[in-house]
């Protein structure tokens, strides 16, 4: 049977076979169990971590709209230029790529060359390049037949289409698209969305595996903000503010807040100087000069100081001394407590003695005997100090608290600051507090308190975001009016409003008078206690707070002009005309009809009829019959458009421009006129000159015929279409607050 093997051989063979098959195979299988079952997860994870590379897919940041859905901040597609060193095959290609990218992107060639030698599959060379540069890179790749090594990855770049407009509210974003200031920072979570990622398998040299393993988590785009800001009102506010700041040489700029007093919605929030959020790190020319004169070692520090100064939203982040503007609050206290009425008598001798100090009225000789309304209109310090004494420190502080000065307003902007008030009010403190001096409040707090007077006594929460919408435009959340509490009775509020309206007609706020509208206003000037330009010299903060129409206030504005050095510093002269200019433009924009009295109606209140569609000749007669001047442009038979539009109210002898031909002609230089410089003119002269120039004029401010125009918009020498209305403000420089 068995021929090849002996029994001893077979014994030994079996021993060996058992050792091999059972012992060795068992060891190997145990080893495999250990690796493939027990430690499988760990090894798999380790393998994955080297095989998988993930690329971030940036979520599109939400848009910031104004209340009319005009975009103020939006994200446009941009591209990150990415180098993929692992895909670059040889040194020659490296050289070509470095040279090409260096030229296109303006980066030193050596830098790119060095990056291209790194053992990596992803190296960002330049972030957020625009489509122009992107196309250049694509062309370059095509021209040099480069198929791998350079990638363009979609990203987003934040654009602020309106430039500087509302920049101090909007803020800006950083390199990674993160909000750094303002609403961009406050609403980071809402706007940002969620980044997605693309996970793909990479082989050991970092290039793609020809293996179907790709996993994408799509980005979730950010939600959009709809602001309460109206970009048109914002524009008007910024223009008025800038004019006041430049005209009065205000060294520290200024601010303007426009609110809807009923709802607390911020309609405009302007800060000057501002910055361009598209280039937030660039200084304005003036600051550049300052920086040039700074010694080298302090340049970096100085630059960041200057930048943070222009980035600051002073309305929310800084304190200001309200001065006499605060008297409206003290008046409300007095009326609410029944301590005074409009006719209560006061006597001003030019100052009042408190403890051992005499606090002077701005009229050194004294206002003499005057009633309470007159005291407000003349902004008499003596009267208000004695009213303050009647109120008493305790009640004063209660009201101060009630009006919300001692708390944050809760506005949805970052970095809101809190007031600095007297800790334990002494008689002298009470006295100066009664005239708005020696304590600091953020401007937003003053504006919110003034809203309570305007709206019948309700303290509202100011807010700037109206709605949050998702990317499809569906409203996710809307922010309604929040009334914190009722502070004073509506009757008190109305009485204060009426006194303030009188102040615009006959008192210190006269420069903010706009014919046809009842505007309540109060001006103020405060001595600054800190950050003086030259220690020892007096610096002032001049402000104006007003709202209109008094019967049903639709808009309230607080304007502050910081450190005016143009000769004038009273709020009534520095800030109030700005308020007048603002109201004269904004009220018409808001569609609030002027209510002229008979005399004014003749002068200003001629309503422009609708001429569109009428025969040219017919329209012409129509205009002449109304006492207006027709200017006909083109030879058409029919009226195609008109300036001003139907329903506008213009002054006697005003110009109505009738366009009868195709629109493209209308903008040509022939139909534009140079705006005359009205500054320094009397009102009557200005009206005549405007008539002859084919422009309409809207005059606000002082009604005294001898007073001169000091403010105008648009400014002289600008070119505007015929029929445009020029707003001018007549100043009375002798007004005091």
């Amino acid at each position: 049977m068995v021929r090849g093997s002996t029994i001893r051989m077979r014994k030994r063979i079996f021993l060996m076979a058992i050792i091999i098959i059972f012992v060795f195979f068992s060891i190997l299988i145990i080893r495999l169990i250990n690796l493939q079952i027990i430690n499988a997860r760990y090894l798999f994870k380790m393998a994955n971590s080297q095989q998988l590379a993930s690329t971030k897919l940036t979520a599109k940041r939400g848009i910031i709209y104004d209340r009319n859905m005009v975009p103020l901040a939006q994200s446009a597609t941009a591209w990150d230029a990415v180098l993929e060193p692992n895909y670059i095959k040889n040194d020659e290609t490296r050289e070509i790529i470095s040279q090409g990218l260096s030229e296109i992107l303006d980066i030193p060639k050596e830098e790119i060359l060095e990056a291209s030698k790194k053992k990596s599959s992803y190296k960002i060379i330049k972030k957020k390049i625009d489509s122009n540069l992107k196309d250049k890179i694509i062309d370059f790749k095509a021209k040099n037949n480069i198929t791998s090594g350079i990638r363009l990855i979609e990203n987003y770049k934040r654009y602020y289409p309106m430039g500087n407009l509302a920049s101090n509210i909007l803020g800006f974003t950083g390199d990674d698209g993160q909000g750094l200031l303002g609403l961009e920072s406050k609403y980071e979570k809402v706007l940002k969305g969620e980044d997605g990622k693309l996970v793909s398998a990479k082989n050991a040299i970092g290039t793609d595996m020809p293996y179907d393993y790709e996993h994408m988590i799509p980005p979730k785009d950010g939600d959009s903000l709809v602001l309460t800001i109206d970009s048109n009102i914002q524009k008007i506010a910024e223009r008025c503010l800038k004019q006041a700041v430049t005209k009065n040489d205000a060294r520290n700029g200024g601010f303007a807040i426009a609110m809807d007093p009923q709802t607390g919605e911020i309609l405009a929030l302007a800060v000057y100087p501002s910055f361009d959020p598209n280039n937030p790190f660039e200084l304005c020319d003036e600051d550049k000069k300052i920086l040039e004169n700074t010694p080298n070692e302090e340049k970096t520090k100085k630059k960041s100081e200057l930048l943070s100064a222009i980035w600051d939203n002073t309305v929310v982040n800084s304190l200001y001394y309200p001065g006499s503007v605060f008297k409206m609050i003290v008046a409300a206290m007095g009326l609410e407590l029944g301590l005074v009425n409009e006719n209560s008598n006061f006597n001003c001798s030019g100052g009042i003695k408190i403890s051992d100090r005499i606090i002077r009225c701005h009229k050194r000789s004294g206002h003499g005997p005057l009633n309470f309304e007159e005291a407000l209109c003349k902004s008499c310090n003596s009267a208000f100090i004695s009213l303050g004494q009647k109120i008493g420190a305790e009640k004063f502080f209660d009201f101060y608290n009630a009006f919300g000065f001692h708390e944050k307003t809760g506005i949805d902007l970052p970095g809101e600051t809190k007031d600095v008030f007297f800790e334990n009010m002494q008689p002298i403190d009470l006295a100066v507090a009664s005239i708005g001096q020696n304590f600091g409040i953020p401007p937003i707090s003053m504006a919110t308190a003034a809203c309570a007077i305007a709206n019948g006594g309700n303290l509202v929460t100011p807010h700037i975001v109206k709605e949050i919408k998702d990317k499809d435009g569906k409203t996710i959340k809307s922010f309604s009016t929040k009334i914190r509490r009722s502070v004073i009775s509506s009757e008190t509020a109305k009485r204060v409003s009426d006194m303030m309206a009188q102040n615009t007609i006959s008192g210190g706020a006269k420069n903010a008078y706009v014919p046809g509208f009842r505007i309540a206003g109060k001006t103020g000037t405060s001595e600054k206690k800190e950050k003086l330009l030259v220690p020892g010299q007096k610096d002032y903060m001049s402000s104006y707070c007003g709202f209109a129409p008094v019967e049903d206030p639709k808009i309230l504005i607080l304007i502050g002009i910081d450190t005016p050095k143009g000769g004038q510093y009273y709020g009534s002269v520095v800030a109030a005309p700005s308020g007048g200019l603002f109201f004269s433009e904004v009220l018409l924009y808001m569609g609030i009809k002027p209510q002229y009295n008979e005399e004014e109606s003749k002068k200003y209140g001629i309503e422009v009829p609708n001429l569109i569609g009428k025969k040219t000749s017919e329209a012409k007669i129509n205009i002449i019959n109304l006492g207006l001047q027709p200017v006909i442009i083109g030879k058409g038979e029919e009226v195609l458009s008109q300036v001003p539009s139907a329903g506008s109210l213009i002054a006697q002898n005003g110009t109505v421009v009738i366009y009868t031909e195709n629109n493209s002609e209308n903008d040509s230089e022939n139909n534009k006129v140079k705006v005359p410089n009205f500054i320094g003119m009397k009102k009557s002269d200005a009206i005549k000159i405007a008539e002859s120039a084919g422009l309409n004029i809207s005059v606000s401010g002082s009604s005294n015929e001898e007073d001169r125009i000091k403010t105008q918009s648009p400014s002289g020498s600008e070119y505007v279409p015929k029929g445009t209305t020029v707003n001018v403000v007549v100043h009375n420089d002798n007004l005091r607050d």
Partner: protein, 401 residues
Amino acid sequence: MLNKKNPKKQEKIKPQKFKKNKKFSLRNIKILGIRSGLDMPFLILVLLLVTIGLVMMFSASYPNAFYLHKGDSFFFIRNQAIFAIVGLVLMLFVSKLNYQSLKILHLPILITSFVLLLLVLAMPPINGVRRWIQLGPIGFQPSEITKFAIILSFATLIDKNFEKMGTFKYGILPFLIIFLPSAALLALEPHISCTVIVILLAAIMLFIGGIKLRWFAYVLAPMLGFLGYLVLFTNKLTYANSRIAGWLNPFDSASGVDTWQTRQGLYAIGSGGIFGLGLGNSRQKYLYIPEPQNDFIFAVVCEELGFIGAVIILILFATLIWRGIVISIRAKDRFGTLLGLGLTMQVGMQMILNIAVVTNTIPNTGISLPFFSYGGTSLLMLLVQMGIILSISRGSNIEKT
């Protein structure tokens, strides 16, 4: 029992039987004919392993082929498939031949082995070692010949000296004369893994051949001692030494030892889990495992086919070894038994050591996996050796299915 009592009688019978077989086989060259007397289970196992080996080799090799051979994903598989086909034809051809005629060839083959081993030392080193002789497009390792030469000459000599295997003069000395220079020349290449295999093969064959067990202690102890001395206390084999350091700590790359291959292999094995990532879905083969088509192919097998696939392949190998042993035991003569066992053991040894290396059970050393690893000439050699086992099986006293 028969052998011991009547050895001469048995030897007389054998040639007769053999002649009969030879005539039979020369007349009918049927490739897979059952009547040809081949051991079908063994043949099927070989065909299965060659097929699975080719599929896995293709899967493991194509990324490397794609990236390193100008996008030609079929670079490796094309070569291997050609050699496999030629090898299978040769195997069937060899299986028809009389393996006993190899007895005569044992000396020429042994001399060829020595010549080639000396020749290879004159070759330019590749990666610091001299293992390959390149003949035009075909390269081969003389060590493959050496392994066969040792098995063949040992089988011949044990068969010849069988009665005197207990003595030093016949049982030890001739083998030492063959074995020692072979092992020394292999160690000089250096080719530690092959040296180890040769040592183990020699030991197994002598053990089965019936030498006194104490000789193992006399011969192997100093040899192992010397090897241990080289590895542990000299700088000459620092390369082997560092492999041991890397073996103990494959995930710690701080030691300055390059454990990349081991580490990547372990990642692959672990990634496979129980069911594997599926055929062709290995990720670690994408340039992570260096040369995944060679020694570390089993890591890719584990990653793609999982624990279950790996165990099935282990079982196939085990079955092949078992069948090889059965064929050998039942061989019609002692030479056949010894030759068959030697060849079977070589496959088994290599397979066990390879998988032990890939799973980091022993230090990393270059051993290829039979039927799987890329290498045309070695696959050819392997299949010819399988052919010899099949030839032995024709005369074996076992049931043919």
